[in-house]
Symmetry: C2
Subunit: 343 residues, 2 copies
């Protein structure tokens, strides 16, 4: 331990500590001796002792729904890299989309003395945010961005993104829509997307038929089943399907091929996330892209700024980019004028 190093180097424990925490307050000569002693004894500072004495844990936490989703994995990756560069260890918790688990994880991280926290979305128990405030731990909500959010947030505006997507289709002359989404429960991002679709359609005097709303797991299989059920429904078929992400959209595309539905001739399809495969399959998928690694990096930066005593902005908005590709086109029986409107 430290005192052994001190003894071997012939200095006090305070000096050894300084060598690692305020190196320039130690003369080069002494510093070298200490470093040599440390190497000899194969010593490095013990984090627990350090945390206890300095009341700084050098730990930050992030709670995500699941690592199975690439968008969250890359966000963690971005945060991890940015924090590591500042000597802060990132601790990860997965809630599995369960608010109760998220709360437990946050408490565990507070017990660990996390100095900063990030949570995905705002759909969490109030106790979660209460705890964060009570212990004065700076935190940020990620992946979602709202001007008027009570929390600092770093992400994109899910509502605005789906307005844009819906307007794109309306501009192409579409008037009959279906939506296939991942579970909306406890998920404010998905809820915002649904709301955006509804609001945008409503503005044009349109609405989605209940038979044309599918909610289920975020998989290709769900996308396939959804299209099948939509196509079999005893009502007018939609000319466009808006999906909650690329996985689901990929499933819709695959099933369309199977059912002999022409895309985009007969049906337009949109996704979200812009997976690598989405621009490679035929037809290529119209989707939106968000730099989730950057969200992670910015989040870490934001929290570091707060720890540094800077008073950063309310958050950061990251842009969601619409990538128009082959899977969307003019509605089958649209007036030429309609389709041209927004092009």
């Amino acid at each position: 331990m430290l005192s052994d190093v001190a003894k071997l180097a012939g200095v006090s424990t305070a000096t050894v500590s300084r060598v690692y925490n305020e190196p320039d307050k130690v003369s080069a000569n002494v510093r070298e001796r200490v470093e040599h002693a440390a190497v000899t004894l194969n010593w490095f500072p013990n984090a627990a002792g350090r945390a206890l004495a300095s009341t700084r844990s050098h730990i930050a936490g992030i709670i995500i729904p699941t690592l199975d989703d690439q968008v969250f994995a890359s966000q963690v990756s971005g945060m991890q890299a940015a924090f590591a560069a500042r000597g802060i260890t990132l601790v990860l918790g997965c809630s599995n989309y369960d608010p109760a688990q998220a709360l437990v994880q946050v408490r565990a991280m507070l017990a660990r003395g996390a100095e900063a926290m990030a949570v995905v979305g705002e759909a969490h128990p109030p106790e979660l945010f209460d705890a964060l405030r009570l212990y004065r731990v700076p935190y940020a909500v990620t992946y979602a961005y709202r001007e008027d959010s009570p929390h600092d947030c770093i992400g994109f505006d899910n509502f605005a993104a789906y307005v844009q997507m819906t307007e794109h289709l309306i501009g192409l002359g579409h008037r009959s829509f279906a939506v296939c989404l991942q579970p909306t429960r406890d998920n404010d991002r998905v809820q915002a997307r649904v709301a955006a679709i509804r609001a945008t359609l409503e503005r044009h005097g349109l609405a989605v038929r209940p038979e044309h709303v599918c909610e289920g797991e975020s998989t290709i299989g769900f996308g396939r089943r959804s299209l099948r059920s939509i196509w079999q429904a005893p009502c007018e078929r939609p000319s466009a399907i808006i999906c909650g992400n690329d996985h689901i959209a990929l499933g819709v595309l695959r099933e369309a091929e199977e059912l002999g539905i022409e895309i985009p001739g007969e049906l337009s399809v949109t996704g979200f996330d812009d997976l690598e495969i989405s621009k490679e399959i035929r037809p290529t998928l119209t989707t939106m892209r968000v730099d989730t690694y950057e969200i992670g990096r910015l989040t870490a930066q934001h929290l570091l700024d707060i720890l540094d005593g800077k008073r950063p902005q309310h958050g950061h908005e990251v842009r969601a980019l619409l990538e128009i590709r082959e899977s969307t086109g003019p509605a089958p029986n649209a007036h030429a004028g309609d389709a041209r409107l927004q092009r």
Copy 2:
């Protein structure tokens, strides 16, 4: 802090500590008073103090190359869940395939007092394993499994898997091969796969032409570029391409469609990992599946067993399952007999 709780409950600090660590050594009556006091004061044990006094950090670490790859993300997920169930926090480090970074991360985790560690693969600096041994931290190598490994390992036999894959193609009558792999440098798993392909072909008196070996990033784009260059090479074209994973194979399939190469009629293609999309695209992709979440879970379990003082086996082998699908078929000019041989 704890002493406040003790005061409020009218007991000693030792008793408060017991309530949380050895609850049944405390009378129900006293326990209740303490718990009530803790809730009132909104107190929970501080991990640093705890770690210092008990010399147990309740932290475990894992070093993976990158979170961008689903197989590592799900392994982390499996470990995290298993450790969390035992009150152990998992700390994550990404090496970005850089051995030096891996070493730094391991040291950082040792400083944090990690009680157990997992690292992906064995291609690490000796100092890394030396450090782990020096500090007597139980560890396991994951994602790779060798009977005769000096380390405990949990994963699958990369060599055996690619032998099986290569034999599958040879059984189909293929005699001319190409391989498209992710970077082999500092990656023992990929190296084992190359070795397996070479050894298996050699056993049949075959070898891969240098022009037919492509090494590059693990992307669809690399797969596409590789097939193009292989197809343009001024030598006999291969009848089968073995890819290092599904991403690369997906790229090969896409480029084949573009180039008008018939699959599997003209060319057989294989991947590895069995992504969800691989059984959905046309033609469906022949590949191998490994349960990486399970690898993570087993790794955590193995390390927990060691911490519990059990002396578990040398490791666990997880099976890699060959999924034969549409992208592989008989070699174009194979004798009927050849193709039947291994069917």
